[in-house]
């Protein structure tokens, strides 16, 4: 289907962001040098341009950060909740004020389209701080007893797919409940966390309450294993999550894990097809499919498979892949060469195992990391593309005949993070939602997030909830 009009380029200006050539670590309220020499580079995955150098924090650096957080904990936890709330409200407001700058920064560092950082990530980041700010002086009403206490120092390790949003999910509830934090952003996306350090300074947040240490998995491992950390919160892969669970076994550290998924998006024959197609596209191509709760398995009722796939393919042909800073871009860059290699290998395996591969005609830019939206049909439950989390823009299509079969297939995974149900029949939605072993069920919608809505998985998708009243529990001594 040829477009009637070509789109003119509509790039968002990057002049609004001033990225320093090099960054230290944010410890005890200021940027400091590492005890070691190791530096890493963070690049724009859309162009492979080096954006900045940053520090590979050593074990000694992590120790320094934990000590700063420990030192700050006494006063911070003793502050009246209403005062902690005001700091968080300040942070929420400053994020709103600087949201365009942060959106552009995030798009540069992560590769995701500006329309997503601008319209999804940043509004949710600000809303998350605003929501938990309001809890800080109301904890005794949250249902965790008359005077729930903070845990102490929280060690938090976050992924690269929603860098600033995952920071907000971790830091906002931790501070509202009176904990202090040491946070490690992902190795490919450290910049928004370092900018957040500056926001903490602007907000006048007491020194040591938030500490940011950058680096790769070694830094994260040192943080998780540090004996003076009371709480570990991790979002990332299931394999690393299991390793963390082993590391903290036998300690008193409280643990919450938000891990991988292989979400089923179930479409019944009475579903509104056009809306379902939008939901499927949103479910797997939002953020290039690099979403733990992505609807990466489409379960479509056999009788409407042809009709649905035809609509879906037509819709995919209209998606615009390219410059993430362009306001018309739907599909941005894959976050890293490593992730691109993983997606490529799994998609190739899908083809080798006999699934039928399809992508719309789609020109990929010559530099940067790109992967065309991809559909696999004729997929069975035994196929790797139906079992493994690909974490990319790859959708596996399976079929079913009865609701029971749909549920059985949806639940046939060690994961249990998200699921979708599309049908016009209310009783069927409730019956199916009830049977799905997943922490979030989107019915006649997909990939919706809100600070008031608890998010987290069943089974090997992890444990604990982020968001809502439930999200407080992870940071309270209850």
């Amino acid at each position: 289907m040829a477009p009637v009009f070509e789109y003119a380029p509509a790039p968002e200006s990057r002049a609004i962001v001033d990225i320093a050539p090099s960054y230290g670590l944010f410890i005890d309220g200021e940027f400091v040098e590492s005890s070691g020499e190791d530096r890493n580079k963070t690049i724009s995955p859309a162009t492979e341009e080096v954006l900045a150098e940053y520090t590979q924090a050593t074990e000694e650096d992590v120790d320094r950060a934990v000590k700063a957080a420990r030192k700050a904990f006494g006063k911070w936890s003793a502050l009246p909740g209403s005062e902690r709330a005001k700091y968080l409200f300040r942070i929420a407001r400053i994020i709103q004020e600087r949201s365009r700058e942060l959106a552009v920064l995030e798009t540069l560092d992560n590769g995701k389209p500006i329309k997503e950082t601008r319209d999804v990530d940043l509004p949710l980041v600000a809303a998350h701080f605003f929501y938990y700010a309001g809890w800080a002086d109301k904890l005794e009403h949250a249902g965790f007893g008359p005077s729930p206490r903070p845990l102490g120092v929280a060690g938090q390790v976050i992924p690269w797919n929603f860098p600033l949003l995952m920071l907000a999910w971790k830091i906002a509830p931790a501070l509202a409940t009176g904990n202090t934090v040491v946070l490690k952003p992902a190795e490919t996306t450290p910049l928004s966390a370092l900018f957040f350090a500056d926001i903490c300074r602007q907000a006048g947040l007491p020194k040591g309450v938030v500490n940011i240490v950058t680096g790769d998995g070694r830094t994260g491992a040192a943080l998780v294993a540090h004996p003076d950390v009371n709480k570990v919160a991790f979002t990332g892969s299931t394999a690393v999550g299991k390793e963390i669970a082993r590391t903290i076994a036998g300690t008193r550290k409280k643990l919450t894990l938000e891990l991988g998924g292989k979400g089923a998006n179930i479409v019944f024959d009475d579903a509104p097809i056009d809306q379902a197609v939008e939901g499927i596209v949103n479910g797997i191509f939002f953020n290039q499919g690099q979403v733990c709760c992505a609807g990466s398995r489409l379960l479509v009722q056999e009788s409407i498979q042809d009709e649905l796939l035809e609509s879906l393919k037509r819709r995919l042909s209209t998606l615009r892949l390219g410059d993430p800073l362009d306001k018309n871009t739907d599909i941005g860059a894959i976050n890293s060469a490593e992730q691109l290699a993983r997606i490529t290998a799994l998609a190739d395996q899908g083809e080798a195992e006999g699934a039928e591969r399809w992508s719309p005609a789609c020109e990929l830019p010559s530099s940067g990391y790109w992967f065309a939206p991809t559909l696999f049909t004729n997929v069975t439950q035994a196929h790797t593309v139906a079992r493994d989390e690909i974490f990319g823009p790859v959708l596996s299509v399976l079929t079913f005949r009865t609701p029971d079969e749909a549920v059985a297939k949806a639940n046939n995974t060690p994961y249990g993070l998200s699921a979708g149900v599309w049908t016009e029949k209310g009783s069927r939605i409730l019956a199916v939602a009830n049977k799905l072993r997943a922490g979030v069920v989107w019915s006649n919608t997909f990939n919706k997030f809100d600070p008031t809505s608890p998010f987290g998985g069943y089974k090997e998708s992890g444990f604990g909830r982020e968001g809502g009243r439930h999200g407080l529990e992870a940071y309270l001594d209850v």
Binding site: A127, G143, G145, T238, G241, K242, E243, A245, R246, A249, G250, R252, L257, L259, P272, Q275, P414, I429, A433, L436, A438, G439, V440, V441, W442, S443, N444, T445, K448, D450, T452, S453, P454, F455, G456, Y458, K459, E460, G462, F463, R465, G468, R469, H470, E473, V478
Partner: protein, 299 residues
Amino acid sequence: MSEKSENNRLTVFKTYKLYVGGKFPRSESGRVYEVTDSKGNWLANAPQASRKDARDAVVAARKAFGAWSGATAYNRGQILYRIAEMLEGRRDQFVREVADAEGLSKSKAGAVVDATIDRWVWYAGWTDKIAQVVGGGNPVAGPYFNLSTPEPTGVVAVVAPQDSSFLGLVSVVAPVIATGNTAVVIASEKAPLPALSLGEVLATSDLPGGVVNVLSGRTAEIAPPLAAHQDVNAIDLAGADDVLAKELEIAAADNLKRVLRPQPVDYTETPGIDRMTAFLETKTVWHPTGALGASGSSY
């Protein structure tokens, strides 16, 4: 166990058996171990469950999970209350068994059994309330109905307290099943008889077979295969010592079981809801609310 009853009649001993899938098997291993009272007097030969017994118990618990978690909360409450009723009728037996097991006087053992019966009543009342306390609607910023509901985690392995052989046991088992989980319980190693007798009560309380499975034997032998079992969703380490608890927690990480670590608990106190929430998941369901305008409903 006394040789002669008061009227000089030779008493009938009970063969203590495991309780698995609603049946009373001996250990498939054929092994037993001697159980003595606090003074070292022989009480009984208890079955010494094997790894295979533990795996059989998991199969039974998994099989029972669908129906038990799908039962109405009201129905589960009725059944838990029925357990209290059945226990009340066998109070004397349990007073004797607890007195023997824990070296308590008759009156102290009586208080323990009373507290245990009352604990079932307490949790019977929770089954249809916990969802209202820990679940609820979420006011999301958009046209969506959004509801969070607690759901049982699945099959829970329970390492029952070693010292509190009856009150402690029920205090860890009742919260697990009240919310719809099913349980594989390892009884106190040195004092398993009250737990094994409890199986007889559960079997006659309308509790579906497999919802609670009771194993006796060596904790260090049976707990590791349960902690490593890929079809067990959670583990309560109440009765594990620090060394074993760490080993089990490491094994449990393989399929990310929910782990409740051992902690000091005064089982005579009224419990909080922590032992229920430890084995609950939260499911959040979204749906567009649409709008009833001139154009009709919309997504």
